[in-house]
């Protein structure tokens, strides 16, 4: 098959690089959501640990 003209080939190249970037961004977004959850759980545990410490100090 002969080489596509630049305007047509450009769409395919842009599409391929967009797929690459999208994969990375989706992965980073999923990781960000997981880290947010970890942070919330950590906050619950910190609150509980502080409460226990106050109870012991009474």
């Amino acid at each position: 098959m002969p080489a596509l003209p630049l305007d047509e080939a450009g769409k395919y190249v842009a599409g391929a690089y967009a797929v690459f970037v999208t994969l990375i961004l989706v992965y980073v977004a999923i990781m960000a959501a997981k880290l947010q959850r970890i942070e919330r759980e950590l906050q619950v545990l910190v609150t509980l640990a502080e409460k226990r410490r106050r109870e012991r100090n009474r």
């Binding site: 080939a9 640990a49 226990r52």
Partner: protein, 252 residues
């Protein structure tokens, strides 16, 4: 390492991220402003600089996962199982990228999204589908030790299959898929080869960064579970033990 002797996966993550960003930025600049156009395929050949590095890194990742799996079976250390799991996970994600970018390139070059009589394409798809079964296998086993052990065995067996598959495909006749990186140093001009190597380095660094990021998150989660268990056990004597409230998956 932290003071208790546990591995800290997050150390060096910032430097690795920066190196990935800079290398990928350099690769992009080289692809679009330095590398010449291919004589046969024209502009669409630029997909080569993202498709092939992802394929090489993904396949190498499967082999590396097998090495970690061997280390896990020998030492029984959980960290090697986690390394093997995360490496496979990342390679599967990169494999998705390879298949999609390859299909886009195929459509532009050959007029078809996929061809079934091309060994390179079908063999990669077989490897990808093989590793896609890793997760159902792993999570179908409840006992954590057995889960890790069986997963390691799978990773070793499948990892041994990857180079064999690669060699067999290289020995076969290629119908349409280009063989640019052959053993006689290829037909690539110097500018293309430099661009390819920088792109390969960028994708490899990106892979390493994302693996490290996932390991850090997983390790943090494990430490959180340990902390929760310690707090549940550490009750004042005679106190009633209420269950710890779990954090909901989404904010209420």
């Amino acid at each position: 390492m932290d003071p208790s002797g546990n591995t800290l996966f997050g150390s060096g993550l910032k430097a690795l991220s920066l190196a990935s960003v800079l290398t990928l930025a350099a690769a992009l600049a080289l692809v679009f402003f330095y590398a010449p156009l291919d004589g046969d395929q024209g502009f669409i050949q630029k997909i080569f600089y993202v498709h092939v590095p992802m394929a090489i890194v993904a396949l190498s990742g499967f082999v590396v996962a097998a090495v970690f799996a061997v280390a896990h079976l020998r030492t029984r250390l959980a960290k090697y199982d986690m390394l093997s799991y995360v490496t496979i996970h990342m390679s599967v994600i990169f494999g998705v990228g390879v298949l999609i970018t390859g299909s886009i390139w195929a459509k532009g070059s050959w007029g078809k999204w996929w061809v079934w009589d091309e060994p390179t394409l079908v063999s990669f798809l077989i490897v990808f589908l093989l590793y896609a079964t890793y997760y159902p296998l792993r999570y179908s086993i409840e006992d954590p030790e057995r889960q890790a052990r069986y997963s390691s065995v799978f990773a070793i067996t499948a990892g041994a299959f990857v180079p064999v598959n690669f060699i067999v495909v290289r020995l076969s006749e290629s119908l349409v898929h280009p063989r640019v990186l052959n053993t006689t140093a290829g037909n690539m001009p110097g500018e293309m080869r430099l661009t390819f190597l920088v792109a390969l380095a960028g994708v490899a660094l990106l892979y390493a960064t994302l693996v490290k990021l996932e390991l850090t998150a997983k390790h943090a989660r494990m430490q959180l579970k340990t902390l929760r268990r310690m707090l549940e056990q550490d009750q004042p004597s005679g106190a009633v033990r209420p269950p710890l409230a779990t954090v909901p998956a989404k904010p209420e």
